[in-house]
């Protein structure tokens, strides 16, 4: 068969010469390659002290957004869960009670909302499916951990805090931003 790369070396069974039997040239050759790598640029960085620049379309840890008044946008409609190819999302819905209007935007809300970060493949389909502009993928990295069950992220880790809102405008297309300007639509009120 014709070689694809021309780097193929045929291994023979012929006896080694005296120089080859010393092995020294081969060892030195190997050491030369190792030494060369001391002076090349490192492929890794020391995260978290150093951070890389992210692509604009980087898909990392999810966030559940609040609206302008601080109410949770998620209504537990289940579209993210049904869109999820890895079946990583589960939720339980509950009905909003009187006096909770400032906490939840719609009359139904997610009492629990869990994403299994080990199952998640960060495809962003949940973001596409969301009709309420609630879930977004951000440029935050899911930190490592020692326990498997620590990777099931509940609302405590997913919902953004009021003090520390997470900017996702970069994830919204110009069409969406244009649509949001129309305050006549109930979606934007």
């Amino acid at each position: 068969m014709q070689s694809l790369t021309n780097r193929k070396k045929v291994v023979g069974k012929k006896e080694m010469t005296w120089v080859e039997k010393l092995y020294l040239p081969a060892i030195l050759g190997g050491m030369r390659i190792t030494l060369k790598h001391f002076f090349t640029k490192k492929a890794t960085i020391s995260y978290p002290e150093q951070k890389r620049e992210f692509s604009q379309i980087y898909r990392g840890m999810h966030v559940l957004k609040r609206d302008e008044k601080g109410a949770e946008r998620c209504t537990a409609c289940g579209l993210c869960a049904v869109a999820c190819p890895a079946e990583a999302i589960t939720m339980v819905a509950a009905e909003r009670k009187k006096g909770e209007e400032n906490l939840y935007r719609e009359e139904k809300y997610a009492a629990t909302y869990e994403i299994n970060m080990l199952r998640c493949i960060f495809c962003g389909d949940c973001e596409d499916a969301c009709p309420k502009e609630s879930i977004f993928l951000t440029d935050r990295i899911v930190p490592s951990d020692f326990e498997r069950n620590e990777f099931v992220y509940g609302k405590d880790k997913l919902v953004e805090t009021l003090e520390n809102p997470i900017d996702v405008s970069i994830r919204q297309t110009p069409e969406v931003l244009e649509f949001k300007k129309n305050k006549k639509l109930t979606h934007n009120r």
Partner: protein, 329 residues
């Protein structure tokens, strides 16, 4: 017998059959959608106008076309009648207009609505509607009304199909609700705020094509597509006892009547079966419900292979569908 041709397909049907039912006998894409017509409810149909078709030839004796589009659920066939449904651009245009009218006041709260996933209006809008709306005004709103602890009424979602009123009229011994007011402000309502508490009243939930009447015991419990439907029965003195159970895990979340491929329940069930028997031990489970694979309910829903084999055989041999098992669309 009358011979009728619908979109080029000819079928012989008994005299007095409506065009809609003749089309349903043929089956397939040419069946007009229906939001208000309900086979088992007398005098239903004629309100929603989604089933409109064009009659290009009245009959063999009088071959003149009908001057306007007709509601196929109310128009009986004539011998030699020729009907156009999806082959007529006029019908498709008119139907898109009807959908736009139906959606004009319908709130777009599908993410909250318990009917989402099995809603006739969702299907209708998806298949026959247009992308956007031209309506710029506020949608109508109603005062919230409590009609008992079993049925949740969302008047804003109602499309006034009158099906529930017919159920109240024809199934329940005494009529306790009807349509109040007129035109834009008309609403279904209990007479004098009386709670609906008779035997068969729960069937209003099943006949409602939208999420206006939903099961309060199932409210926000789960989205429809996370539940698994199975056919089951029990000995019931009040009704046939043939129902559909909706499972989530090992729990029965909801009991409904068996809807067929047109979304209609043939055997209405009593309130005891619907609300009070939510334990697996109450029921004899027959088989998983056949779910149309285009339905969102078919997500992660695996049927018995025997049934699927039978289905493929039927499709290959082009045999008419067996009417014993209901289909959920």
């Amino acid at each position: 017998m009358a011979k009728v041709t619908i979109d080029g397909q000819t079928i012989e049907v008994p005299e007095g059959t409506s065009i809609l039912n003749a089309a349903r006998m043929i089956g397939g894409e040419i069946v007009p959608p229906a939001m208000c017509y309900y086979t088992s409810l007398e005098t239903s149909g004629g309100y929603c106008r989604t089933c409109m078709v064009k009659v290009v030839k009245g009959s063999e004796k009088d071959p003149r076309p009908m001057p306007k589009l007709v509601a196929s659920c109310r128009q009986p066939v004539m011998d030699g009648m020729e009907v156009q449904n999806i082959t007529s651009p006029e019908v498709i245009e008119a139907r898109a207009g009807v959908v736009e009218f139906l959606l004009m006041n319908h709130p777009l709260d599908c993410p909250i609505c318990d009917q989402a996933g099995e809603c006739n209006l969702q299907d209708l809008g998806y298949e026959h509607g247009k992308d956007g709306t031209r309506y710029e005004f506020e949608r109508r709103e109603f005062e919230k009304k409590d009609i008992g602890d079993k049925i949740q009424l969302h008047m804003t979602r109602c499309i006034l199909c009158y099906r529930c009123v017919k159920v109240a009229d024809q199934l329940c011994p005494s009529r306790v609700h009807g349509v109040m007011n007129r035109g834009d402000v008309s609403e279904i309502s209990t007479y004098i705020e009386k709670a609906i508490d008779n035997e068969m009243s729960g069937n209003m939930i099943d006949v409602c094509p939208v999420g206006a009447l939903t099961d309060k015991t199932f409210r926000f419990k789960s989205r429809v597509w996370f539940t698994k439907p199975v056919e089951a029965h029990r000995n019931c003195t009040k009704c046939s006892g043939n129902v559909r159970l909706w499972f989530k895990g090992a729990d029965v979340l909801r009991v409904t009547g068996r809807k067929d491929e047109w979304g209609e329940v043939k055997e209405f069930i009593c309130n005891e079966c619907r609300y009070d028997k939510k334990s697996v031990s109450d029921w004899v489970i027959e088989q998983p419900t056949h779910v149309d694979r285009h339905s969102v309910i078919s997500q992660n829903h695996y049927e018995n292979l025997k049934q699927m084999k039978l289905d493929t055989q039927r499709i290959k041999a082009k045999l008419p569908e067996k009417k014993t098992n209901g289909n959920t669309k």
